[in-house]
């Protein structure tokens, strides 16, 4: 009697678990098949920098609101190294299913050209989804240097050629390149002192180890706000709302030298147009949120959105431009 009952119980149990298993398989398969139109799983935003750097902070600011709109968890993955190449290469090899995104910065259009065989093709290996921010550079000097405008700085540099030192977060960084382009345009000669990061390069000006730095906004903001450092010009085409008293390069008298450090979300190449539109739409909504704008602004970035096509054009244009610049400056190894 007891055995019969046990047998029946076991049969029922096994039937139920088989059904459950089958249902689970069906669910998984179904979800995967729907992946082409919807994002079928957790989304990873790859950031090619250490935690705490500007792109990382921005990706984390976006991850919460984005995950609400995707209905999927959004995770930030740090893949620092090789000047951003490691992260960029990881994304270029990922599947174009919308689950791997890249928080790209303009550096990705510079670094591949610095080696004889580029590690990746900035324009060809990616699908542009949209720009998210613009992070201009600001020329900072120590107040003890005694100059208050860009013109005075150039005059000082001309009076003592080869004596002023400038810092940068590394050879081939946008800051370095922009400084060299400025030197060429104005005919001055300064000495480059590379550092390992924007923070170290900013500290160098603070400690008077170097005289000036074409700083990215994020490490410079605290120093500018406390007046420990003086901002002479911003490299964008309009003034930054964070430091409204600092003129643009054009206003300071130097035109055609604008350089915008853009931050954008890209995906691997081959993403479907529907997927791109979906992600771009969610991105646009998130970037319009007031608290996101404030958080970006506090980190030194101005929210600046663009449509996928416009971003693709910008990406291709910058890739071409900086290829020429890198070769011109002899930075190819």
């Amino acid at each position: 009697m007891r055995m019969k009952g046990a047998y029946r119980y076991e049969l029922t149990y096994r039937r139920a678990s088989v059904l459950l298993f089958a249902a689970l398989i069906a669910l998984i398969v179904g979800v995967q098949m729907a992946g082409a139109q919807n994002i079928g799983g957790a989304v990873t935003i790859v950031v090619a920098s250490d935690p705490g750097a500007a792109p990382d902070v921005m990706a984390r600011i976006l991850s919460g609101p984005l995950s609400e709109r995707f209905g999927q968890p959004v995770v930030v993955e740090n893949r620092p190294g090789a000047g951003g190449n490691i992260g960029a290469m990881a994304v270029s090899k990922a599947k174009p299913d919308g689950r791997t995104l890249f928080m790209a910065t303009v550096n990705m259009t510079i670094t591949p050209w610095m080696t004889k065989t580029p590690a990746f093709d900035p324009a060809g290996d990616y699908t542009a989804i949209g720009q998210v921010a613009s992070v201009p550079m600001v020329v900072v000097v120590n107040p003890a240097l005694g100059v208050k405008t860009m013109k005075e700085l150039v005059a000082l540099a001309k009076s003592k050629p080869g004596s002023l030192n400038y810092s940068s977060p590394g050879i081939g960084s946008l800051n370095h390149i922009e400084t060299v382009l400025f030197e060429r345009a104005t005919g001055i000669k300064m000495v480059h002192v590379p550092y390992k990061s924007g923070a170290a390069a900013t500290t160098a000006v603070l400690g008077k180890e170097v005289d000036l730095f074409f700083a990215g906004m994020p490490p410079a903001v605290p120093q500018l706000k406390s007046n420990a450092l003086l901002g002479l010009a911003v490299t964008a085409d309009k003034r930054s709302s964070l430091v409204p008293a600092v003129p643009t390069l054009s206003e300071a008298g130097y035109t055609n030298l604008e350089s915008d450090a853009w931050y954008a979300i890209l995906g691997p190449k081959g993403m479907s147009a529907a997927l791109v539109a979906k992600i771009a739409g969610a991105l646009k909504e998130v970037l319009a949120l007031p608290n996101v704008k404030v958080q970006f602004a506090n980190s030194g970035a101005e929210v600046l959105t663009s449509a996928p096509e416009a971003m693709a054009k910008l990406l291709a244009a910058d890739a071409k431009r900086y290829k020429g610049v890198v070769e011109d400056l002899g930075l190819v190894k």
């Binding site: 935690p51 705490g52 923070a199 903001v221 420990a228």
Partner: protein
């Protein structure tokens, strides 16, 4: 400056129920994360950063700070118990801590680590409260020539980290420097020794090197001895967990000296907890009456580095808060968190945001207290790990090490390096070469070169810059004296006498 009033403001803010809760949470998380090798406060804080956007700024800072210095407490636990540094700053603790565990004195070692960390934390908090602004300006005076001279002094002092042949120690240090050089040079952008491997562009990560050379090498050695692997690491009985009066007297001096050294080194951007712990150990060994005890299980060898790394962790807040200069990745993230909340770190933070500043300072002390209370009772439990049969323990250690190494950057190369340096560590130890000077070389070598070249660029090739500047000259003079003292025949004979027993 009205200290009692400021401290009162701080106490009021830090002792609110919600801030106490976040402090505890941070400290607990930090300890857990510190225990796990490879996974550290940097990663944890990065993961929790979005959560802190919604918290009030003081609570966010309190929690993140708790994670950071909590990790310094936790890192020493695995260092002592299984020779596996949980944090890079606990590498040196393993030297004596593990030997103490093998002798059945794991409890004493763990208790020493906890107590010296707490004392260091308390004193460092006081230092921050009293001296934050002047200390910050001191930090700015350290530029390339000073860093270079400090590194020279450090490297020379590291030779005294080993008890054996001076030549071997120098050789090990040099080997470490060569390993450290692998990667891209900052000053010229040239890749060196990377063999074309992109993943080596930034060099070999320190964590797999340390875990491999200490933890894995020890496992290889233990297994290779062919002993019965159902025995445990610990030979002999587990002696008392409490510290005797004599023990306490032994660790007072090292703790205080370690705190002093750690507080200063934590201030320097790029200095930090690793440098502090190594230096404190070396200094302690140098001035000890019986240096041969170090490396065999001397409590001072645990007290000094542990107090140094905790003090350094706390004073590294000073440049970030008062100048807006982050000394390490963790500080960079905290600064990011502050900025997002609209608070600008800088000289005026003490006057513009007194509640934030003093609340944070007081809560650092509260966190240290919580950690002491948390860790001391657990010492007995942790010490039992040393009694686990080895055949169960070592696969777990290997697995955790691999996961921890992979978790750094999600790259397999770090795991490969773990394996490679496990073998390297085994071979070197077999050749009677000390590992600590090598690791010190890995950390200090590249910094030495970077700063030397930077100093020479800035002086346009004039080498007298190193002796013209006062701080640099003093550091070099101390280094010179250190060599002379070691080389003078009378001293040399005494040294041989000491090492022959």
């Amino acid at each position: 400056m009205n200290l009692p009033e400021n401290l009162a403001t701080g106490f009021y803010a830090a002792f609110s129920l919600i801030n106490l809760l976040y402090c505890f949470l941070g400290a607990l998380l930090g300890t857990l994360v510190g225990v796990l090798p490879g996974i550290g406060p940097t990663m944890t804080i990065a993961l929790l950063l979005p959560v802190t956007f919604t918290l009030p700024p003081l609570s966010a800072l309190i929690m993140l700070a708790g994670i950071f210095y909590g990790a310094q407490y936790g890192g020493s636990t695995t260092s002592i118990l299984i020779n596996l540094p949980g944090e890079t700053s606990s590498v040196v603790t393993a030297l004596d801590g593990y030997q103490l565990a093998r002798k059945g004195r794991a409890g004493a070692a763990l208790a020493t680590a906890a107590i010296s960390s707490f004392v260091a934390g308390t004193i460092a908090t006081l230092i921050i409260a009293l001296l934050a602004p002047p200390l910050a300006t001191l930090a700015l005076k350290f530029q390339a020539p000073e860093y270079f001279s400090l590194m020279v002094l450090g490297l020379l002092v590291s030779v005294s980290l080993s008890s054996g042949s001076v030549v071997k120690a120098m050789g090990a240090t040099l080997f470490g420097v060569l390993i450290g050089i692998i990667g891209t040079d900052v000053t010229s952008g040239v890749e060196r020794f990377t063999l074309g491997v992109t993943d080596l562009y930034d060099g070999i990560n320190f964590v797999p090197i340390a875990i491999g050379m200490f933890g894995l090498a020890e496992i290889i050695r233990n297994l290779g001895q062919g002993e019965d692997s159902s025995r445990s690491i610990q030979s002999g009985k587990l002696s008392g967990l409490a510290l005797s009066g004599r023990d306490l007297k032994q660790i007072v001096g090292p703790t205080l000296r370690g705190t002093g050294l750690g507080s200063i080194l934590g201030l320097l951007p790029g200095g930090g907890v690793v440098l502090a712990s190594f230096s404190a150990y070396a200094v302690e060994k140098r001035i000890s009456k019986d240096p041969s005890r170090f490396g065999q299980g001397a409590l001072e060898g645990v007290a000094a580095p542990e107090s140094a790394n905790n003090a350094a962790a706390q004073t590294s807040f000073i440049p970030m808060l008062t100048l807006g200069i982050p000394s390490n990745a963790v500080m960079a993230m905290m600064m990011g968190a502050l900025l997002i909340h609209g608070i600008t770190p800088g000289p005026r933070i003490m006057t513009e945001q007194p509640i934030l500043f003093w609340g944070l300072v007081v809560s650092m002390w509260v966190g240290n207290l919580m950690l002491l209370v948390l860790n001391l009772p657990l010492v007995g439990l942790w010490a039992k790990v040393a009694q686990v049969p080895y055949k169960v323990l070592f696969p777990v250690i290997v697995a955790i090490s691999c996961v921890g190494s992979y978790a750094i950057g999600l790259k397999m190369i770090d795991v490969f390096m773990l394996a490679v340096f496990g073998v390297v560590g085994f071979v070197l130890a077999g050749l009677d070469c000390e590992l600590a000077p090598m690791l010190f070389g890995v950390v200090v070598g590249p910094m030495l070169e970077e700063n030397m070249r930077r100093a020479l660029i800035l002086s346009r090739g004039d080498p007298t810059t190193f002796v013209e500047r006062p701080i640099s000259a003093v550091l070099l003079a101390i280094a010179f004296i250190a060599i002379v003292v070691a080389a003078v025949p009378k001293m040399r004979k005494k040294r041989a006498e000491v090492f022959s027993d």
